[in-house]
């Protein structure tokens, strides 16, 4: 087992899972909603990027921007349908969960209708080739994935730490009622959260589509994995999501190399069940009372 290969695969997977899980985690902690339509955002932004590559330019930068913008739009759409009308209604968490599930069912079928079940492939935006870092060999798209997601993650975290809007989001994560009392607009903040997390899913979609094809239901597996990572890390914790992403990426890489690809989900789930049995709120999860 080549340790450099293992490390590289781990980091690649961790960066993509991190993007997905962070989105789910931030939405849960700030909006109190579980976004099951994150997979739909993922699939839509894949198609958005594909359309951009087909009709505007196959330039890697433009394709990434196209995917990210489509993701942000899809996120805004989900927020507009599932959060804005429901957030002050009784039984909000369950109803918004079901609403996002309905959106994901509807969206998948719409994509199937519009784009036909034939899979699409994105152009290789990072080019084809290998790069040697010391003793390790890395393909361009792996390096590109790591760099891109690291940049977006850092940008997002920096934005959340320093900007006014980020402060509002963090206030809402800590205490939504208190935030509303001191004048944070719940609706506008929620929409910006949805757009940012949608953009993250969009980038993850473009990056994963370097290795996989785009199809109407391509979002299911990333959704499940993102959710699982967010759960293991603890819903609502940024650091927990990142730690869990690295751990689960590592487990996936080790399992794929040591046992074979078909055992990946099984080992991941055993790991997560073990984590949740020891720490029911995940590695660094918030306690329920913070949300209420």
């Amino acid at each position: 087992m080549d340790p450099y290969y293992l490390a590289l695969t781990t980091i690649t997977l961790a960066s993509i899972y991190g993007l997905l899980a962070l989105g789910i985690s931030i939405i849960w902690s700030s909006l109190g909603m579980i976004n099951m339509a994150q997979g739909f955002t993922f699939a839509v932004s894949g198609y958005g990027a594909w359309l951009v590559a087909q009709y505007i330019s196959a330039n890697g930068f433009v394709v990434v921007i196209g995917g990210v913008l489509t993701g942000a739009l899809a996120g805004a759409l989900i927020g507009g349908i599932a959060f804005i009308p429901l957030y002050d209604k009784p039984n909000f968490p369950l109803r918004s969960l079901i609403a996002t599930l309905a959106i994901s069912l509807m969206g998948g079928q719409c994509l199937l209708w519009i784009f036909s079940p034939r899979v699409k492939a994105l152009p290789k935006i990072f080019g084809v080739g290998n790069i040697h870092i010391g003793p390790a060999v890395a393909s361009y798209d792996k390096i590109g994935s790591i760099v891109c997601s690291a940049i977006l993650l850092l940008l997002t975290l920096g934005w959340m730490k320093t900007s006014r809007r980020g402060l509002e989001i963090r206030a809402m994560m800590q205490n939504p009622e208190g935030a509303a009392l001191v004048g944070v607009g719940l609706r506008s903040t929620a929409m910006s959260v949805m757009m940012v997390t949608g953009a993250m899913a969009g980038l993850a979609s473009v990056l994963l589509s370097q290795n996989y094809f785009i199809s109407p239901f391509a979002g299911t597996t990333p959704l499940v994995k993102g959710m699982v990572v967010a759960l293991a890390g603890g819903l609502g914790s940024v650091a927990g999501a990142l730690i869990a992403a690295v751990l689960i990426g590592f487990i996936e890489a080790v399992t794929a190399v040591g046992l074979g690809g078909q055992y990946v989900l099984i080992t991941q789930f055993l790991f997560i069940i073990a984590v949740l049995l020891v720490r029911p709120r995940g590695i660094a999860g918030m306690i329920e009372h913070t949300r209420e």
């Binding site: 429901l86 209604k89 069912l105 959710m227 099984i266 049995l277």
Partner: protein
């Protein structure tokens, strides 16, 4: 006390005729004192005729629905409709049992269809590789469900709410990936087929379909019976005492709610496994679609559209979704969009699905009513028109209206001259206006009526108020002391005039 509450919405129930022995006859479940129908016998206040009202029409509606279900598809449906109806029966059974997990046990498990899948795959394996006949598959299905239930119940001890829901979604996905990749489970053929079926080979196609449909209907009724047995009896009562966020209170009462929850969860898991055994004998095997997230979504759509936590909601939602999904199959993928649209509209606008509409509507109506009432002011004791619809005894409305009109008229008569006349004309002839006012005062109800108490005759008199109830003495109103009965009577008159002017 009036028999019905003075204010509040009254249910409109049809009144049945019948008097004598019929009034007191009750149907009972055999060997118990429990009655399926709650019948109230009453006398109509206007006509004095005996009337009976059935307070819970639901058992009758269920019976009618089941009879219709037993007649319509086999008699009027074509073959594909009967097949769709069979799917409906099976899904309805799954959903009803699932309500036990979500509603009664309060464990938000999304692995219900996966449990069915495990049962189906398990029994199909037994049949294909060990040659089990169909009845043995039916018997062994619950065992697989129980084992899988134990497996997925372990995280339920520690996890709560959404953590558990998401985990169960993951477990279904895990099962799907395993089944798709496993060669012995038929990865190459898109499912494990070749299991024994309960429909005999010599039957005609249509007869076989009808047999399958009736079996599915019996399965659904079995699911409903089980729901009733678990939810309506001891376990259900225990869990109703321990709803979410009140667990600590229930525990303090000595209710072991965790054990009860797990017990309900395991019972329903075994039942779901049994449905899986039925599925395998009906379709001669199992396919990975049992573990697909889309199937799970359809199941969730059924429950959500009908109303989470109720059996009638589960059955109606199943009927709607199966009708769109299987009968209008010509619509293509757009029918799933339609289902998702209905689900979205339900969840955006309804609190408890279709069967929650009456409660939500009356809550909305009550809110609007109280808003309107808040806008109106100064009704002077009279009943407002919108309040009148809620008062059972209509005579009281007219009494209050007459009273209010009379008081406003008498107020015009009261002046200083009248009061002076009362003081000076004790025991003599009085003027017409004064007699009218006094007649109104004398007519007042006994409760809280003023009276004169002779503490020492011809020396000390005080004003008291009657209690209006036998055996309860009058209470002293104030510490005024009068020396003659005439003065005391005038004191009572002044008090009454004061009350009249203030009303």
């Amino acid at each position: 006390m009036p028999e019905t509450a003075l204010v509040g919405s009254r249910r409109m129930l049809p009144a049945l005729k019948g008097h004598g022995g019929a009034s007191w006859h009750r149907w009972r479940y055999p060997f118990t004192r429990r009655t399926p129908l709650l019948i109230e016998t009453d006398y109509n206040p206007t006509t004095l005729a005996a009337e009976r009202r059935i307070l819970n029409p639901r058992p009758i509606l269920w019976l009618v629905a089941l009879i219709l279900l037993a007649i319509i598809p086999p008699v009027f449906g074509n073959n594909s409709f009967i097949a769709a109806a069979t799917t409906f029966g099976m899904y309805a059974a799954i959903n009803v049992v699932w309500q036990l997990q979500i509603g009664t046990a309060g464990i938000f498990s999304l692995a219900s269809f996966a449990t069915v899948g495990v049962g189906a795959y398990g029994t199909a394996v037994l049949s294909v590789y060990l040659g089990f006949p169909w009845w043995a598959m039916w018997l062994s299905g619950p065992l697989f469900g129980l084992v899988f239930g134990v497996f997925i119940a372990i995280p339920a001890i520690r996890l709560e709410g959404f953590y558990y829901a998401l985990l169960t979604v993951g477990i279904s996905e895990l099962c799907r990936v395993y089944v798709v990749q496993s060669q012995p489970l038929g990865a190459a053929n898109g499912g494990l087929f070749g299991a024994d079926g309960f429909v005999p080979d010599w039957m005609h196609e249509r007869a076989g379909l009808i047999l399958g449909y009736y079996a599915a209907l019996v399965l659904m009724i079995g699911g409903l019976t089980m729901y009733r047995m678990v939810n309506g009896q001891r376990l259900g009562r225990l869990l109703r005492a321990a709803p979410e966020k009140h667990e600590a209170f229930a525990e303090a009462l000595g209710i072991n709610y965790r054990a009860a929850r797990i017990q309900v969860f395991l019972i329903s898991s075994a039942a779901l496994g049994g449905v899986g055994g039925f599925y395998a004998t009906l379709l001669h095997g199992a396919s990975p679609s049992l573990f697909m997230i889309d199937q799970l979504l359809l199941l969730l759509a059924m429950v959500v559209i009908g109303g989470i936590g109720t059996t009638e909601g589960a059955v109606l939602g199943t009927a709607i979704v199966v009708l769109i999904d299987k009968v209008f199959i010509g619509l293509g993928p757009s029918r799933l969009i339609l289902i998702a649209g209905i689900m979205l509209i339900t969840v955006l606008f309804l609190r408890g699905g279709i069967f929650g509409i009456p409660a939500q509507f009356s809550a909305w109506r009550g809110k609007r009513k109280s808003e309107r009432r808040g806008l109106q002011s100064g009704k002077g004791g009279e009943v407002m028109p919108d309040e009148a619809t809620e008062i059972a005894d209509k005579q009281s409305i007219f009494v209050r209206r007459f009273d209010a009109n009379l008081r406003s008229e008498l107020k015009l008569l009261v002046n200083d001259a009248l009061i002076e006349e009362h003081r000076t004309t004790s025991g003599k002839r009085r003027s017409d206006p004064l007699e009218r006012v006094l007649a109104f005062f004398r007519r007042a109800a006994a409760a809280d009526k003023y009276a004169v108490l002779a503490v020492r005759p011809f020396a000390e008199y005080r004003i008291v108020a009657l209690s209006g109830r036998r055996g309860v003495p009058p209470r002293v109103v104030d510490d005024q002391v009068f020396h003659t009965p005439e003065d005391a009577l005038h004191g009572v008159f002044l008090k009454r005039v004061q009350d009249l002017m203030e009303s």
